[in-house]
Each structure stands twice: as C-alpha cells, then as structure tokens.
Symmetry: C2
Subunit: 352 residues, 2 copies
C-alpha cells in the first residue's frame, strides 16, 4: 500500500486514498477532510481543476507587481505536550498562526496553507482533530487550506507519534517589500504585542523543567486560573488583525515575529544596517509561566531571552509620532501593544 | 534553545540559527546552506527582501489570468533505505521530482520549492547532503529552493532518524486548467513514460520483501548491473523535459503521475466522467525489480498494480493523430514513451 495520501482542495474527488488510514475508515475520513478543506475555500480556490494539486487564482489580487512570499515551519515538541494531554485540535492552529505571523513580519498578506502530517499509525479521530486545527486556523486568518499530505510510516514513527509541517504562501506588492524592514531610524519606537504563552518555541526546555518539577498536566498551575495543559498548549496567537491594516502604513518601518532566538534572533531582521534596538525589560510584566520556568529551571535571564518570547510575540517598529495611533489601532483589533524600547544607532538588541 | 531553524532565500542573512545543529558548526552549515540555496536562485528570487520568508516575483510571469497550483509531499520510507545505505544526497531529488511531476499532472509549470527536515540529531554532513539533494533537484528542474525548515527533536525522532516534507508551487493560465484533465475522449491514446524504478511508492512492501529475502544492500541484484542499494534508491524521475513543451499542446488531453494507488488510483484523475482507460500490460516490459518483488513477496498482480508504478511513472492521454508526434517529442527529451492503452467509454482502469 502507498504510505502517503494527499488532500487537494483543487480536485473534485480529493485524493485521500485508502492507504493513509485503515480501508474501512477511508471513505468516512475522506468526507470529513473534504468538509474541513471546503470550509476554508474562498472564491480564489478553484475546485475541480488541476487534480494533482490545489489551485488558487492569483490573477485578480490587487497587489501591484506582486511578489509571492513563502515560508515553511513546524511546531517543535509542543506536539509532545499535545500528545501527553490528548489534545490534538490546537497544534494545527499553532502552526497556521506561526506561519501567518512569519508572512506578516515579511510584509505579506497570507493566501493559502498546506500541511504535512506524518505518523506511526494515525487514529481517525486524531487525524481529523489535526486537520480541524489546520482548517480552523485557516478560517480564522482568511486562508485557504489548499492541500496536504498524510503519511503513515510505522517503521519511522512510534505508533502514537506524529509530526507536523506547514507551508504558507502570501503576496505583497514589490514596492512594499523594497521598503519593508529596511527603513527604521534612531528614535523609532518598538511596540511589543502580547503573546498568549510560549507560542511554539522553547518547548524542549519548558518540558524538561515541567518534568523535573513533577507537575501533572491536569493540575492547576501555581499562579492559578489554568491547568498546566492549558498553559502549555495556549494557542500561538495570530497577529493578523493587528498587522494587516498596517501593511501599507508608511509609519510602520519593520516587524518581527519573536520565535526561536527570541528578541536577539529576530528583531534585528526587521532593521537595516547601522541601527539596533534598546529594549526595556521593565516595560512589560513577564507572564508567570516564564518566571516559573526561569526560577524552577535555574535558567539565566540571557538564556530566557534567547529561547522564549517572554510575553511579547511580535514587535512593530514605528515612527515616533505614529506610536500612540498604531498602539491604539492594535488594541482595537484585540492586541495589547506597549512601548518596549527604541531604535538606536548600533546593531542587535541591547537591554536598558 | 529553539528547535527549528529556517532557511529563507529571501533574507540576506539566512536565519539558520545556532540551534538546528551544534553551535560550533552552525556558522559553517549556514554558509554551506546559503551557497546551496543561492545555486537555485533565478532573477525572480528577491534576495534581501522580506526577512521571515522567501520572496518570488510573480508579476512578470507570462501566464494569462494566472492560477497558483500547490502540492505537499513526502518520500515515505524510501528514507529508511537511504539511512541503511548511508546515502543521503538523493532523497531530496526524489522529493523535488515527485512534487514537480504532481504539478505537471495538474497542468502547471513549477516555480519554487520549500523543504522541511525533521530529525533526532542531525549530523552536519547528513544535513548538508539532504539540502544538496533539494538544491540539485531544484536546479535540474529550474526551480528556486525558496526556503526550508530544519528541526531537531530528539524526543520525537531516534538519533539517526529523519523525515522530509516538500512543498511546491507552480503556475498555470486559468484557461489551460479549465480544459486540463477534462477533455479525454474514447480512442485517445495513453502513452506511458518509463520510470526509473520504484520512484517513491511502495517502499513498505518493497523493504519487507527485501528483508525477508535476506539480501544485503551492497550486493548485486539477481538481474545484475546494479546493487540493491542502487536499485532501491534510483532517483524518482522528473518528467519536466518531456511534459513542459506539451503544456499548451491541445492534443494533450490529460496527464497522470503514477504514484501511490498505481494506475487505478491516478489515471482516472486525468479523465472526465464517462470515460476510462483500457491498458495492455503486455505493452511494456515490467522491469526486473517489480517482477522480483512480485515473485519473492508472493504479491498478486492486482496488488502490484495498486502499489507500484510497474515501470511507467507518468501517463499522457493524447489525441490519436498526435500520439506518434508526442511520443517522438518525449523521446527527444530523453523519455521513452510507448502506447500502453486507449481511452474507452466507461470509468476507471481496465486491463486488456
């Protein structure tokens, strides 16, 4: 039997074959996957065309001299927390939102997403929960789930193990990209947008600390109001509502998605040569989960800030006179944004 | 430390951070990856823009009313053969070529590719060999390797284990897609293009049979001229040279990539309702590897034809009067094409 089966939004009969899951369940799963895929399809998705790939009409996109921007990502070992907690419908959203934020940080509007699911043996309900997560993430961001691949490889993965990869394509007018992340100046303001938790970074260190502390995922955290499972699986936030209205705002000089590498690894990517960022760690309250990991794990401040987002998932570099206006717009879009520092002559990230 | 690191053709300083491989090797690997990525970059790849994603200019593509066609895939457990043989530079080409063929079967011209590499612990030479394979596959097909993600997850993968996913995006004029795979008629000819071996399908069954027979990968096969390793790792053939010149040829009525599901699972996707294919198994010589698997594994003809390509990796459905001309064109492009059947009223695939 074939090991991989594809799901293509473009084909009338999605090629979710008999092999990815047991024969007896294949037809039912195919129907459920098809419904989920269709729930994300806007008018640009051309059903019934192609046949071996998903089809997305780009011809009427409003962007002048359009440039496609693409990115690939995974969710790291957040997957292992999902598995331990038996919660499989959120990691797909994590991955879509992560990919969307990478495009936003590149100045692009996201168009469509494809997924790869690899597993030892994929239980039907787990498979559907994973694709439900992708579909919900796509719907929430206005993306099409254009296709995907599901592979069962019992000799490569443990029976219950799975891994996910995501792939996103967006579009931007060329002129925007030519200024994007290239025009920050000294005295520009760095606005920090609140994260929902760890997002998808630092899970190796976080899991190790949690395990060493002997906590159970269904226990309440010491700071209360949520279980460990809820705290560790909080969905990676999409900053689309806050950032999409700013894509053509000339007061926005750069944007950074705070992922692996933290501020130091990501904020400089939003800056031209000759300038750096001076950040003030006291400008926001570090959420209790990060403080707990630092204390319980004996993790230095320096390492914490290279591994984790510390409560700020996305940075906007904005002209000083526009900072209040843009922060207010973010708040209206549901994203708390605060001044966390300034652009200075130099390079990299320094802490005040 | 972060678990995932991205490689983006669009950024001046590719974000291959310190985490994907050991710190001491990170800079060197970053340089080697950067060279490989750049070796695939044509003028459409906009280096230095974006920053969190690869950038590909689509604005000057010649296609009228352009439609993007995208597909995701893996290489299945061919990876395990690569690992056993210690040969890591070919599976990347397998994956690129597989993805390219899926786009060709959809009527699209491939533009760019992104990869996902997940591993337990990624040796530097293995990582570079994998990306070398992606880069060579992309160069050979004229694609840009626009980005990728490398993730080390020792708690999810065995130390030496890795998995690969690939994502491809192509483009087609909308008018082509509206006729593609939708206009075959009775008496049209099915041309079969020779495969190079198993391509990327059926490896679970093939490996099981090889293991049960107790052969060693470095032994010569019974039919001679190649070792088992060479036979099992023969690179998935790209049909781009044969099919690209035919994308706007109205005599080409449909195209099918013979992958998982074999002829029955794939050829009908190239046909409209009301017609099927009548194929003649005697029209080509089944290569010895398939005959050996069938005999040694006691695999029925029916199962063989659902799992394997049996020596035909791609099918073209062509107007009868154009069959000789198109077959000659394929041969000139280096792809042997033979008549393997006809389109008939009905549905699915029947065998003469």
């Amino acid at each position: 039997m074939s090991e991989g089966t594809s799901r293509d939004a473009g084909s009338e009969a999605p090629a979710y074959g008999a092999a990815g899951v047991r024969l007896e369940a294949a037809e039912r799963v195919k129907r459920r996957f098809g419904d989920l895929v269709r729930s994300t399809s806007g008018p640009e998705v051309l059903g019934g065309l192609g046949g071996f790939g998903g089809c997305f009409a780009i011809g009427r996109a409003p962007e002048a001299d359009p440039v496609l921007v693409a990115s690939a990502d995974g969710v790291g070992t957040k997957i292992l927390v999902a598995r331990s907690a038996g919660v499989h419908h959120t990691v797909g959203q994590d991955l879509v939102n992560h990919c969307v934020n990478d495009l936003l940080a590149s100045g692009a509007r996201p168009l469509f997403f494809l997924d790869y699911i690899a597993a030892g043996r994929l239980d039907e309900e787990v498979a559907v929960a994973l694709v439900e997560g992708f579909a919900r993430g796509c719907r929430d961001n206005g993306l099409a789930l254009l296709g995907g691949e599901t592979a069962e490889m019992p000799d490569l993965y443990e029976p219950e193990a799975y891994d996910l990869a995501g792939f996103v394509v967006g579009v931007a007018p060329r002129a925007r990209l030519e200024r994007w992340n290239r025009c920050a100046e000294p005295d520009d303001v760095v606005l920090g947008l609140a994260s929902s938790g760890l997002h998808t970074n630092g899970y190796t260190l976080a899991r190790k600390t949690v395990q060493a502390a002997g906590v159970r995922l269904d226990e309440e955290t010491p700071w209360g109001g949520e279980t460990w499972s809820e705290a560790l699986l909080a969905i990676h936030r999409s900053y689309l509502p806050a950032v999409a209205p700013l894509l053509d705002d000339e007061a926005l000089r750069g944007a950074a998605h705070v992922t692996g590498g933290g501020f130091e690894g990501n904020l400089p990517r939003a800056l031209p040569d000759g300038v750096g960022a001076l950040l003030d760690r006291g400008a926001w309250d570090e959420p209790p989960l990060f403080r707990w990991i630092s204390r319980e794990g004996g993790v230095s401040i320096d390492e914490m800030s290279r591994v984790f987002n510390l409560g700020i998932g996305f940075c906007l570099v904005v002209a000083p006179e526009a900072a209040d206006r843009i922060a207010a717009g973010c708040a209206e879009a549901g994203h708390s944004a605060r001044r966390i520092g300034n652009i200075v002559a130099g390079s990299g990230v320094q802490w005040a």
